[in-house]
Point group: C2
Chain length 310, copies 2
Amino acid sequence: MSAYAMDKLFESVRDKGHVCVGLDTAAEYIPPAERHRCNCDADAVLAYNRALVDAVIDTAACFKVQIAYYEEMGVAGLSAYAQTLKYIRQRGALVIADVKRSDIADTADRYARAHFCGDFEADFVTLSPYMGMDSIDPWLALAENREKGAFVLLRTSNKGMRDFEYLHIVQDDTNKKDRRLYHAVGDKLAKLAEDHKTKSGYGIFGAVVGADPKSGDEREEALEIRRLYKDLFFLIPGYGAQGGAADDAALLLREGNGGVVNASRSILKAWTKDAAGMDMEKVDNNFAASSARKAALEMRDAIRAAVQKS
Amino acid sequence: MSAYAMDKLFESVRDKGHVCVGLDTAAEYIPPAERHRCNCDADAVLAYNRALVDAVIDTAACFKVQIAYYEEMGVAGLSAYAQTLKYIRQRGALVIADVKRSDIADTADRYARAHFCGDFEADFVTLSPYMGMDSIDPWLALAENREKGAFVLLRTSNKGMRDFEYLHIVQDDTNKKDRRLYHAVGDKLAKLAEDHKTKSGYGIFGAVVGADPKSGDEREEALEIRRLYKDLFFLIPGYGAQGGAADDAALLLREGNGGVVNASRSILKAWTKDAAGMDMEKVDNNFAASSARKAALEMRDAIRAAVQKS
C-alpha cells in the first residue's frame, strides 16, 4: 500500500522520536585527520555524512540536508549532495532537501522535477512563500504523483522574522483580529492541507515553524500556531546551537507527534567537546559518529521528556 | 578603477539598451537536430547558450540564468550552468544568477560564497525576502568585497503576488497610508541602498519588480513604486511570453536607465516562428541564434521607443 512521505514521517516520529538530523556539513566540522585524508572537501563531507547517517539512523526521525553547504563547494559539492541524499534513501530513511525554493509557473515545475526526481531526489523540500501560492501549488501534482512532501516557511526563529513575517496585516475578508503576515500564509497552507490530506491526518505539505527560546507572549504565540494549524506537520528548526530547547519545541508538537525538531551543529560538531584534550590524529569519523549518536539520543530523550511533561 | 556590478550594469544599459536575455534554457527549446547531435541534454543546452550569447552580446545589457532549468538536469545540468556563467563572464558580459535564495546567518554566508565565488560565480543574484533582512544583509559583505550585486523580490508580476506581497499592512512607526507588504520590503531595501550606494547613484542591491500588463490603478502603482524607490535598480521580468509590453516596462525605468527588462522564451524560442514550414534538419543553432538576435533587437528598440514616448 502506498503512502505519502508525510505518513512515513508520522510513523517515523512515533517509532524513533522527533529528532531531524541536519547535515549542514561544512568541511571544517569534520575531524581534521579525516578531512586531510581526502583529496577534496566534497569527498570528506560525503564520507562524514555516511558515517553520521549510519550512527544515528535508528535515532533520527529523518535527515535534513541544507544545500547551501554543498553549493558553496561548486559542482563537486552538489555531487556530494546528490550522493548524500541517495545514501540516506538507500538506507531507508527520510530526507528533507532544505532548499527554500521560491519561484512560479514553469520554473517551479522545473524545480519540482529537480528535487522530486533524478540526481537530487528527496522525500521533502522546503519552500519560501513570498511570491504567493502559485510558488507552492506547482509542487503539488508531482508531490502527489511521487508521494513526496514539502514544508513551507511560516514563522521562523531568526531575529529578522520581525521584519516581514511578523507584520500586522488587514484582511477585509476575515473577522479575525491581531493578524500577522504569517497567519495569512498559515491560513493558505491550512486550506491546502485540508484539500490534500494524508492518512496520518496531516496535509501533504507542512510548515517551518521555529523553536526560538519562548517566554510569555512568545509561548502563547507558539501555542496559538499549533492550535490554529492543527493539520500542518511542522519542521522545527532553531534547536541546540540556535538556542531553542526541548520545552520550546514541545509547544509546537501535537499529541506527541506532528513535528520534527532539527539540530545540525549540536550533532555534527558534538565530537569537538568529547575530543577536548585528545590527540587530534586519533579523532576519526567513527569517534565523531559516536559523539553524534550520543547527542542525538540525548536530544531525543529531552524532547520526549518535555512532551510527557506538557 | 574598481566598480560595482551595479555601476557596470548602469553603463551597459546606457550603451546597449534595457534587454536582459534570460537563459532559462530547457532542452526542448533547442532545435531538434542540435539537441539530438549531443550526447546529453546538458551539453546541448550549453552549446545553445554559447551560440545565443555570441549572437546577442552587443544587444543585451546583461544575461539572467534561471538555475531551476539546470537543476532539473541534475549534476550534469549544474555543470552546464557553471560553464554558461563562465562563458558569459569570459566574454565580458554581466550575468544575474536567478536563484531566489532565501536563508539566514551562516547558511546565507555559504550561499553568498557559492554564487559570488567559485564554480557558480555570477555578477548578481536574486533573493527572496520572506525571512527578513537577516536573509539579505549577510550577502552584503561579500558583495562589497567582490563588487557584486543582488536583486531582491519586491513586487512580482505573477497572479499569486496578491496572496502575500499585496496584503495591506499596519505599521505603527509610520504615518504612511495604504501600505502593502511590498512597501515594507521596499522601504528596507531603500534604506540599504541609501547606506550602500554605487557611483551610478543606485544602491548595491536592487529589486525585482514585474512588468505585467498595466492599466488604471496598476499603472499608478508602477509609477508609485518607481517614485518611492528611486535608488533601487530594477530587474523587470514578465515581458514577452509572460504578457508584459514595452510600455509597461518603461513605467519602471528612471531617466531612461535604472532597470533591465528580462525576456526568456520570446528570445530563446524565437526560431520556432522563423522556422515554420522549414525542414527541421536544416534548423541549427546558428539559425536559432540569428532569430534570437532579431527578437532581442526588436525588444531593445521597442523599449527605447517606449522610453522616448514616456
